[in-house]
């Protein structure tokens, strides 16, 4: 095992076995904005074997307060192309690929499951719209792929793990009152770069735990980071048949 990973391999409870599991795992990162940059950085540097980045956006000047995989020279260029190059440079052992497109209902069944030879161990939701998240949740559920959601605004963040294979599955939509699921987001979203970094790092830490089996993540626990007082709270919800996202998926929703 390469000395590159010594500092984590030697952590109590981690070891070479966990590192090999990480090396054999494959992740899809949806969105390479503030969260996606942090997630891609920490997962690639930790030694994830394969990584696919998916985003249809180009780099803009206002991205550069938090999206540290890009520089001023990248403005106007595809985020995915730039991020793939940056990750390859940072972590040459990782096989990294890019999908230069937004996730939509038209491409979700191709993007999310991956190819048969390379289906994903986990999908990371670093998206920035509820509509795209709804597609990600429904597609991951249909293909039985764990989905780790993150979001951030201003000084605040939230992280939720949704594994269709575990009991107590509750999706992001179950946390919202029904009418609010169609509430448009407020544009533009203001965010401190460090907030995106913290929340993305929380996601990467949780993903490493789940991919290596060193930490068992639980469904139905949304972690709420409040950077104004540096506190992390937890919320849970009840899965509801009326959920606009997962209400018609599976059969264990409360009626």
């Amino acid at each position: 095992m390469s000395a590159r990973y010594d500092r984590q391999v030697n952590m109590p409870g981690f070891g070479i076995k966990a590192q090999k599991k990480l090396q054999n795992s494959s992740v899809l990162i949806l969105g390479v904005g503030g969260l996606g940059c942090a997630v891609a950085t920490y997962l690639s540097m930790a030694g994830v074997g394969r990584m696919t980045l998916c985003d249809g956006d180009v780099v803009g000047l206002s991205n550069l307060n938090r999206q540290f995989l890009y520089t001023g020279d990248d403005i106007g260029k595809s985020k995915v192309d730039c991020a793939v190059r940056a990750v390859e440079k940072m972590a040459p052992r990782v096989k990294v690929g890019g999908i230069n497109a937004y996730l939509t209902s038209d491409n979700a069944d191709v993007v999310v499951p991956g190819t048969q030879a390379g289906s994903y161990s986990m999908v990371l939701d670093c998206l920035d719209s509820f509509d795209a998240r709804k597609i990600a949740i429904q597609t991951c559920f249909a293909h039985n792929i764990p989905l780790l959601h993150g979001a951030c605004e201003e000084y605040q963040g939230q992280v939720l793990y949704m594994d269709p294979g575990l009991k107590d599955y509750v999706c992001l939509g179950c946390y919202l009152e029904k009418k609010q699921a169609s509430t448009p987001m407020i544009h533009p979203v203001w965010v401190l770069g460090a907030t995106a970094g913290i929340v993305g790092s929380m996601m990467a830490s949780m993903a490493v735990g789940a991919l290596t089996g060193t930490r068992m993540l639980k469904n139905n626990r949304i972690y709420c980071y409040d950077g104004m007082c540096q506190e992390i709270g937890k919320l849970s919800a009840h899965r509801s048949a009326g959920c606009p996202v997962c209400g018609n998926l599976g059969s264990d929703a409360e009626q």
């Binding site: 979001a151 951030c152 605004e153 605040q156 009152e177």
Partner: protein, 92 residues
């Protein structure tokens, strides 16, 4: 009956209070509480936080009791319940 509303996270800066005890009639629901918030501070809140036409928050929020999110706003509240209000985040 007394219902305590606590404003959390980034909404805290936009509200004139962090925590407020509302006195509501017995059998009041979450919807009644929201109407009371509108009457109490709706006109003082910035348009980015409160939709004065809909008399509701602008952008999604969660209301929770004892760490569990309420998704049915027609449920009746109970004396001395402590409700936390948090912005539901969308940005990435």
């Amino acid at each position: 009956m007394k219902i305590v509303l606590e404003i959390c996270g980034m909404l805290r800066e936009k509200f004139p209070f962090d925590m407020h005890a509302f006195d509501l009639p017995e059998h009041s629901t979450v919807n009644d509480l929201i109407r009371r918030i509108d009457g109490h501070v709706g006109s003082q809140l910035p348009g980015s936080v409160w939709n004065r036409e809909k008399k509701f928050f602008r952008g999604p929020i969660t209301l929770s009791i004892d760490g569990v999110v309420i998704t049915d706003y027609s449920i009746e509240l109970k004396e001395n319940q402590h409700i936390k209000c948090n912005r539901f985040l969308i940005g990435g």
